[in-house]
């Protein structure tokens, strides 16, 4: 698989997942990819190869909670929801993202 332009920048995937789950709904992995693509107007594409490792790591860190449930089509799926710790983490990630983009913007402006 060649590298595509709209692959998600390393390290921002967690921020995107957290934000996606922040609306409060339980979501499965497939829904999360769909949501991110839709909201970003197809400009961001979540690689499945990164999504699931990321989700599991976040579960281990206690940012998200996972449980099995049924989809509308009555299929078994693993649903993720945000924990209190995840919410805190989201604030931090947002903040550092803002700093990062501000920094990059400044560099672009002056360099």
């Amino acid at each position: 698989m060649g590298k595509k332009k709209n692959d998600i920048l390393q390290g921002t995937l967690a921020l995107l997942i957290l934000k996606t789950l922040a609306c409060g709904k339980r979501m499965h992995g497939y829904a999360i990819t769909g949501y991110i693509q839709r909201v970003s107007a197809q400009s961001l594409r979540v690689e499945e190869g990164s999504l699931y490792p990321a989700l599991h790591r976040m579960e281990q860190d206690g940012w998200v909670r996972a449980e099995w449930g049924k989809t509308e089509k009555n299929r078994d799926a693993r649903f993720y929801s945000l924990t209190a710790r995840g919410r805190k983490q989201l604030m931090q990630e947002k903040e550092s993202w803002r700093r990062f983009t501000a920094g990059v913007a400044r560099v672009i402006r002056y360099a």
Partner: protein, 855 residues
Amino acid sequence: MRPSRLQRDLERELAYHLTERIDELQESGMTQAQAARVARRQFGNFSTQLERTRDMNINVWLEAIVRNLRFGVRALTKTPAFTVTVVLTLALGIGANSAVFSAIYAVLLRPLPFPDAGELVTLAQSQPTIPDPFVAPVRLEEWQRFNSTLQAITGYYSEDASETSGELPEKLKRALVAPRFLQVLGVAPALGRNFTPQEERFGGPNAVLISYRLWQRRFGGSPLAVGRTLRVSAFSYSVVGVMPASFHFPDSDVDLWSPSPPDAPYAQSREATWFTAIGRLKPGTSLAEARTNLAAVQFNLGRQFPKTDANKSVSIVPLKESTVGGIRRSLWLLFGSVSLLLLIACTNIAALLLSRATARQHETSIRFSLGASRGTVTAQLLTEVLILAVAGALVGLFLAAASSQVFRTLAKDLPRVDEIGLNGSIVMYSLACAVAVTLLCGVIPIGLGRTRNLTGTLARGGRAHVSGRNPVQFMMVGIQVALAAILLAGAGLLLRSFEELGHVSAGFDPLHVLTFHISNTWAEAGGKPAKQRTERILDGLRSVPGVEAAATAMSLPGVPSQYEIELKTTEGRAESEPKMLAQGRWVTPEYFAAMHIPILAGQWCRDELNVSTAMINRSFANLFLNGSAAVGRHLVQPSNPNLSPAEIRGIVGDVREMGLDREPPPTVYWCTGAMQPGTFFLLRVPGEPGSLAGTIRRKIHELEPLRSVYDLTPLTAHISDAYAENRLRTILLAFFAVTAIALAGIGLYGTLSYLVHLRRREVALRMALGALRVDVLRQFVDQGLRVAWWGCVAGLPLAAAFARMLSSMLFGVSATDVVTLGRVVFIVLAVSVMASLAPAIRASRFEPMQALREE
């Protein structure tokens, strides 16, 4: 369990994702097959996906460990000097610690080498005034019969015997044992059988069990040895069995065991005590229950035999306690000291690691900035320390293995010293030490690393900078100095005690005295023949050219021994006067001449046929009998009515008869000597005592061809061996202390060197501005001295506490001896000056221009 559930979850989850994707693709118009293919391709390799996710849970750890190890080894091989220093320091620290632990483990912790050894106890009959470690055979049999808490009770005593079936008489040590001996110990012969009841009865067949050693030596390990005959001291014994090689009871040099029949006519007196009694508790019976039970048994005996048994009680202690209890304090003392040493080594290494961490700050900062987590960096650091510690522990094990020889050389009479050696437990202990060291050494640099400002370090770009005043490094050097001061003070006090012991005025002259034993059994002891034989041998010895005096004694002066008796005079004394308690000694009249003990009043005693005579020492005369008025009075022992009253012929000078470390006790010398097992022959000779050994052997062979001469030893060697435990702990503690102060010195040297390196620019600048070299020199030496001084200040109160623990082992010096403590301070300061000089001189030799140009 966990991984498999995780994996199932994962597979289901990914399968679901795939189905949804296929559905979506089908909706956009693909066939089922097409959609499946595309979805799979997009999804990537399904199994790789699985693995990548799963790895995080298990393999991540393993991989990280392997990676850390590899990285650690690489980092350590890049700095070989550092690595070797640390490994050697740790080898010394852990090795010495494991060595002492191996002694503690073998001697104190491990059960005695018998099955269910915890059930074994020693029994003794004690009386209010006179502790008698021995038990009368009749009483032992009664205890056995009437008690309900012990499985069995038995007893033993030993004597030296001559075995004469070979070409030359050979001296063997024989244990005479009461019935049930092997039953109590729970050991069976390796070959042959135990004694039969007939053999344990008086007049039964003579039987003997032999040691594995004797079996190998005499019979070449042949199974035919059983049934052969040995001739021991005029009697023939048939060998009924061979004991296992590991069986060393009661002593490791016992070669023969034979029954001592309790029904023998000579064993019927309730006053005749000779057995050391041991017993085995019934399973689940406590010591207290056995004590209560035996007390009741003895109380009944007291009613039955009021004259002999009313005052007696039974004391019971675990066999292990009576075997090794005496040296427990010394061993724990050594363990404490060697643990302090390990602590110093750790502090030393922590300081080194800290310097290394500072040097590697730049590297660490880069790793942080590249996304390494705090945990990763910590794990990396700990792994490095662990590699060092394990390497140190492995090298240290060689040291520990060699140490058993040291223990055997320094203190061959230490109980269970043969059992000291390397085994799995010691290896485990060493590795546990390594882990403890890792945590201890690693925590300090890591703890400090935590507070460090990363961006600050990166910003400075690794340029040399003065890192403040390094308070942590110097504090750690101070701790090392303080700990070393503790050990130095302890070693100093023990050394002073040892010295004092050598300078003590003992009241006799131990130099140029040769001592030896002549084999002899209890059956031949006592009575006129033994007395005449002794005289004949002594006369023969006197005829050897060079022998100035010849005598016998039951114990040696200057070697701890205790035989307290109560005395009365036939002339009577007022009831109000104190009881006459004194040490009793049995010597032949020339003892005083041979030992150079001066006579103060009266005349020398002679061994006369019909009259008992005695000499008393000055303390006895002054304490009980108004000094010189004592001469001519008669002494009796109330507890031994068979002895006729002995006339006091003279008063001799005080002698340290109970050991060099004890004041001379009031002593009564009975001037009579009939040799028995264990009697010492003493010869005063003009030169080196050992030089006469061959002549003496030939002379005795000529006089008594059926007896063997053994243990030809100068008196000084006996005295020195008696203080072997003392010597052991003194030498080892001194060794630990020297190592400790050396480590502290190295620590100071390392820290100062590092500081000089850091501050070279500043120093160069100052010198360029006109500072004198001597000022620079003094500055750094001062800094070293200041640290050492604070170390001393902190260490001395601790040293005083340590010395208080030692106080029972000190002799002739107080625990707060100012001279010793003064010397400790002096040594510490001297060492720190030496350690500081090299870096200080290096600093003072900086060429200002060169140092500045480096930047």
